[in-house]
């Protein structure tokens, strides 16, 4: 006889499937079962890191935990980390600086393979010359355009070496908005005129769509599998909001759009490919339960303890660190909420607010856009 009792498909699911048991009553945040990696990244596997400025934290934490993070362009001699990082050393697996969009990553890989030449690749400012594809890595620029090209050739050789060694690429998706050289489609990491170069009618605003980003990543994946068929990918989405938008939307809406699209693409890729995984750094920082507490007072930069929480979650999932210490129970969080009601935070984002200068600071050209804000 047929059993006509209706049983909910949610019945019997693990506690992590439910908001209350998986999060609110999980006892700690992030919950220990938030991230179940598809594959384990081991300490001996050569890892390449790239992405938007939040990705700098990933490389730093992995190195600190003894992972084999590739550094194909090491800083010379013994210099302070702070100075080395100002010049793009030690941030990623080579000195490509921040790669905010997947298109930018694709361009770099194609250029390494000799299949692509960026247009208008040298920008000038006050008689100094900058690599338009990574304008932040030489803060005072070069003496000539020739030197920029020579440095870029050496850089591409180093990137190619890193790619040939890498078994895992950890890529942090940062932005959908970018500036494009209209006639050629070349995408730049910063708007012309931000660090160097000049805005001309040749440059146009571009806001990448889900399908475009998906296609770009598919191309990236194909290219990297041609180098190493066993290459695996861990994608994350940066929880750092946009400093500014040129979309015409409010920056909050633009941020939500951008992050949603990136999160959607990352999720789709992780669903489609066994060699692509998604790590929820975005969720850890932005979850309602965090109540923004992982952000600095500017509500944009991620606090060092927030970064630590993200990275410890990742390392724990990889079996490379103990679980994150239980931090705050829901009861504690509620008590904090009550306290905040009684002593509300000051208005967010005062006009004269400066970025914090802590050890946790990252090199983020995008933050320079704040200087263009009307005061």
């Amino acid at each position: 006889m047929k059993d006509d009792r209706i049983i909910s498909p949610y019945q019997g699911l693990e506690p992590r499937a439910f908001w209350r048991s998986g999060l609110v009553e999980a006892g700690q945040f992030p919950p220990l079962d938030l991230y179940r990696p598809k594959f384990v990244v081991t300490r001996d596997q050569p890892v390449m890191t790239a992405g938007s400025c939040f990705a700098q934290h990933v490389g730093k934490a992995l190195r600190g935990a003894g992972f084999n993070v590739i550094d194909a362009e090491p800083a010379p001699g013994t210099v302070s980390d702070a100075l080395a990082q100002q010049y793009g050393y030690g941030l990623y697996s080579a000195r490509y600086g921040n790669i905010y969009t997947v298109r930018q990553l694709l361009q770099l890989l194609l250029e390494c393979a000799g299949q692509y030449q960026p247009a208008d690749a040298v920008w000038e400012k006050d008689g100094r010359f900058f690599d338009a594809m990574r304008p932040g890595v030489e803060p005072t620029g070069h003496d000539s355009a020739h030197q920029v090209r020579e440095a870029r050739t050496a850089h591409l050789t180093a990137v190619a070496k890193a790619l040939s060694e890498a078994q895992v690429l950890i890529f942090t998706l940062g932005l959908t908005e970018a500036w494009e050289h209209g006639p050629t489609g070349t995408i730049y990491p910063t708007a012309p005129g931000t660090i160097a170069g000049r805005m001309t009618p040749d440059f146009a605003y571009r806001n990448f769509r889900h399908a475009e980003i998906r296609d770009d990543f598919d191309s990236v994946r194909r290219l990297l599998h041609a180098i190493n068929p066993a290459m695996r990918f861990v994608l994350t989405v940066s929880p750092v909001p946009l400093t500014a938008t040129a979309s015409g939307d409010h920056v909050l809406s633009a941020t939500t759009y951008s992050k949603s699209v990136l999160r959607g693409v990352a999720g789709e890729l992780a669903q489609d490919y066994a060699d692509v995984d998604y790590f929820p750094s975005y969720e850890i920082v932005t979850a309602p339960i965090s109540r923004g507490a992982m952000y600095e007072p500017n509500m944009r930069s991620v606090r060092s303890d927030g970064v630590a929480k993200v990275m410890q979650t990742f390392l724990h999932a990889m079996g490379a660190a103990p679980p994150p210490a239980p931090t705050k129970t829901v009861q504690q969080l509620r008590a904090e909420r009550r306290a905040r009601r009684q002593n509300p935070l000051p208005d967010v984002g005062p006009a004269n607010e400066t970025e914090s200068e802590t050890e946790n600071d990252v090199i983020c050209e995008e933050a320079l856009l704040a200087a263009f804000e009307k005061k």
Binding site: E73, P76, Y87, H142, Q147, A158
Partner: protein, 266 residues
């Protein structure tokens, strides 16, 4: 009479050895000397009472300082027109070490696997020398008329030692590097600008003694003595002789005190 104090590490020895010939040529300059072993000197500082106090951590240290300085363990800095401070050594070699695995983008190609920009090399030099100047300010203050001179550049004769003395290799490396002259000129300029901005005067090693960027002619290292007058080993490439000391004192008198030699040095 112009009064000068020469204060420093074992490198004071070369200048003290030149005291007699210097007095004959510059009779209007009276010089006192105060020397301690390098580590005690470099970790010493000027007290609120205006004395230079070398860092002594034991009775033995104190005894060494007293023995070299006629019983004095500290040095009263009052009453001098100039105090020549000899023996600090911010390391140029740590700047040139940047080129051990990198070629200078703007310089020559020697087959190194990476390129580094001159801008980065200068930024590193700035960082290191700014730190040096900050320490000098903390140790010396600005109440006294200090003139800083670097410890003598290593003797070019060090090249002969490299097979048996691995520490010489970085110096030999920069001796032979085509980009060293430009980098050293920049480095020296950053050093001088930093000290002057902090309120100190600077005396450079006289050109006549210089064999190349950050190198002293070999003959100035021959026959050098310790600050206590004892002979140095044949292979010492840091300490200089009385002839070198005379050139330093002579440069001080002429460049910083505007005193011309009363008689020919010859």
């Amino acid at each position: 009479m112009t009064k000068v104090l020469v204060l420093g590490s074992s490198h004071v020895g070369a200048l003290r050895e030149a005291a007699e010939p210097f007095r004959r040529v510059f009779p209007r300059v009276e010089i006192d000397y105060f020397a301690t072993p390098g580590p005690m000197f470099r970790a010493g500082r000027v007290t609120d009472a205006g004395f230079f106090a070398p860092r002594r951590t034991s009775e033995k240290d104190a005894a060494i300082v007293a023995k070299v300085n006629d019983g004095k363990e500290t040095c009263d800095l009052g009453g001098y027109d100039q105090i020549l401070c000899v023996g600090h050594r911010p390391l140029f070699v740590s700047t040139t070490a940047l080129l051990s695995a990198h070629d200078l983008l703007e310089g020559s190609r020697t087959g190194k696997p990476h390129l580094v920009s001159r801008s980065f090399v200068l930024a590193v030099a700035h960082e290191q020398l700014d730190q040096f100047v900050s320490e000098i300010q903390w140790r010396y203050g600005t109440k006294h008329p200090f003139v800083f001179t670097l410890a003598p550049y290593p003797s070019e004769g060090i090249a002969a030692r490299v097979a048996s003395y691995p520490d010489a290799q970085p110096i030999v490396d920069y001796m032979t590097h085509a980009d060293t002259p430009a980098i050293f000129a920049d480095w020296l300029s950053i050093y001088e600008t930093g000290l002057r901005a902090a309120g100190y005067d600077v005396l450079h090693q006289p050109e006549i003694t210089v064999a190349g960027p950050c190198l002293t002619k070999k003959r100035y290292a021959e026959g050098a003595l310790h600050a206590d007058g004892s002979a140095l080993g044949w292979a010492d490439h840091r300490h200089m002789n009385a002839e070198f000391g005379f050139e330093m004192l002579s440069a001080l008198a002429q460049e910083k005190l505007n005193i011309a030699p009363a008689v020919s040095a010859a």
